[in-house]
């Protein structure tokens, strides 16, 4: 006679078996490293060194008082402040356009969608090379076109006052496609009969209709896009690494690039960990605020 477990115990074991592996994976691969980084950020540990000393908050003090550290923090915030709204508004406009095109020519809409999504699918490092060509001071397309109109060309990637905005433009270009696809999915999910009802109720096409039906019903999509875009913008790295290396004179230095430089070029693991923690707190706070504030105002069906 075989022994049977009580149903409650059996169920608990099944649950543990189903949830367990993923939970262990998360603990070992995410929460563990975060904890380790948090601990390291209070030390002067250098990669490969035999020992380390506790230095308390000194890494953080340096990051926020040292001009170079400050630069990275401020640059990142400026970059996010430009890329986040610009890429969202542009993506929404493009999505509205493509959605409308889709109603009379599905093929053209498909082509447009693919074209806008291309930057997302492509390797950004390779794309960055193309941008480098476009922004080249002498032979680049930007200055060529400006030259035709008589406007003096700019040193897009080596002028300290311009370089961050040049990177932001690439960031927007890179993000619009992804956000557009998300908005497009959101637009497609809005039931057609609501537009019919709006038409009957006297809601005029254009602004009225957008404001009464489209925008409110896009709420959940917009929230998601906001969170994803913020996280992506904060993570800006590839363009900095390939095009400017944070230069000239740290004018385009950002948090993640600083983290890479301090940790993997100068091997200052302690300081890099502090940068990582700051980055982590920024993204976490932003995400929590977005969910906290917006989720109450966003309607979920």
């Amino acid at each position: 006679m075989t022994y049977r477990l009580p149903p409650a115990v059996g169920e608990a074991l099944t649950n543990a078996w189903l949830v367990g592996p993923a939970t262990v994976g998360m603990l070992v691969l995410i929460f563990g490293p975060v904890l380790a980084v948090a601990v390291l950020s209070f030390t002067d540990y250098q990669l490969g060194a035999q020992g380390f000393a506790w230095i308390g908050l000194e890494n953080y003090t340096v990051l926020f008082t040292d001009p170079i550290g400050q630069r990275a923090v401020v640059n990142t915030l400026i970059y996010v402040a430009i890329v986040m709204p610009a890429s969202m508004i542009l993506a929404l406009l493009v999505a509205l356009g493509v959605h409308r095109v889709a109603s009379w020519n599905a093929t053209l809409a498909g082509v447009l969608r693919t074209a806008y999504f291309m930057p997302v699918a492509g390797t950004l490092v390779a794309m960055a090379t193309v941008w480098q060509m476009l922004m080249h001071p002498n032979v680049g397309l930007f200055n060529q076109v400006l030259g035709l109109t008589g406007v003096p060309g700019q040193e897009w990637l080596s002028d300290r006052g311009i370089v961050l905005y040049s990177l932001a433009v690439i960031g927007i270009w890179e993000t619009v496609g992804y956000n557009m696809v998300l908005f497009l999915a959101g637009l497609t999910a809005i039931p057609e009969h609501l537009y019919d009802a709006a038409e009957i109720d006297g809601v005029r096409p254009g602004w009225d209709r957008f404001w009464t039906v489209t925008w409110p019903l896009l709420g959940p999509t917009t929230l998601f896009v906001l969170v994803v875009t913020a996280a992506r913008a904060f993570r800006v790295f590839e363009t900095v690494a390939t095009l400017t290396q944070g230069g000239p004179g740290f004018a385009s230095d950002t948090l993640v690039y600083a983290m890479y430089r301090e940790g993997f070029v100068y091997f200052k693991a302690g300081y890099a960990s502090a940068v990582t923690m700051v980055f982590f707190v920024f993204v976490l706070t932003l995400t929590l605020v977005q969910f906290g504030v917006l989720e109450r105002r966003v309607h979920y069906r």
Binding site: P191, D196, A197, I200, G202, V203, L217, R301
Partner: protein
Amino acid sequence: MSSGRIELKDVYRRYGATTALNGISLRIAEGSFTTLLGPSGCGKSTTLRIIAGLEPQSAGQVLIDGRDVAGLRAAERNVAMVFQSYALYPHMTVRQNINLPLAMRNMNVWQRLPLMDRLLASARDLAAAHRTKVREIASLLDIETLLDRKPSQLSGGQKQRAAVARALVRDPVAFLLDEPLSNLDVKLRLQMRGELVDLHQRTGRTFVYVTHDQAEAMSMSDQIAVMMDGSIVQSGTPRAIYERPATREIAAFVGDHPLNLVEVPARSRELPEPFTSFAFDTRLTNDTVVIGLRPEVLVPADDGLLAGRVARIEYLGSEAVATVVLAGDRTIRAVLPTHSVLRQPGDEIRFNFDSDHAHLFDGSTGARLKARLVPRSPLRATATGPVS
């Protein structure tokens, strides 16, 4: 004050190569309850959307109170519509949903901005008038307590009422209802059917109702337009459609019980089994004739002219449906009363029927024939013998 007389003149609707509406002409009298009835895909919803102005017609005219409404937006036609899915705005409360048509009609962009009802005197007065109107309509439909809820917090019936309230609030000349009851359960559907009829009587407005449910159409309408394959195949009162269906398809579509159709040769006035006791009252030129007999017109009678044997009995409480094999091996269904002795399978059974209730259709075209089926013995004409 416009009255809500609607007229369709030879309306066509084509999508590329396919024709959805094939020359629809229909007069809808002021204050009538007209139903567009038909199977799915027959074009009834398209017709309604064209009346509403949600879709343009490819050809033909739509007249509302004698005026061609081509080019007028839905709101300018001042018709209201209730959708099958209710189409309530999910992010707005019931109050805001009902208020929207008023705000859209009476307020400009600035007055509609949030808080303007506190800042702008004109917006304040309008908003107050709208609030009163919304409360009035809500009490009419008994949803006052639900005004501050979101649609997702309402049951199907409550959503339906909110949708009707939103349609009603603008005081439109006509109500267009697109299968408004088909998402409700059976009990609620019956209740809402009654409420819609009450509403129609109370408002006295024109109702144009689209449904595929013949029972809804029969029970609610003054006028039914039966649509098939993009055309109106018959229009008239429910009674006319039930009693004088113009084609075999209409006869089969209308009625609670599936119609019995028996095809017989029509070369002579005599009929084969099981109709040997009957004859056509005139000589027919058709090859074959289809006799349509509703299960509910067959009356069991000991001296009945139609004889057969019960094969199966389905007991339904208020009535029973018998499947009967007639002489000549034809199977028909008949509705039997359950207040007397119930028949058993294997029992002999005889039926009589009023010859007005036997519909004759052409075997190939399905069109109704003027000829009638009459008993061969004149003594038994239109006999409805005692119930056994």
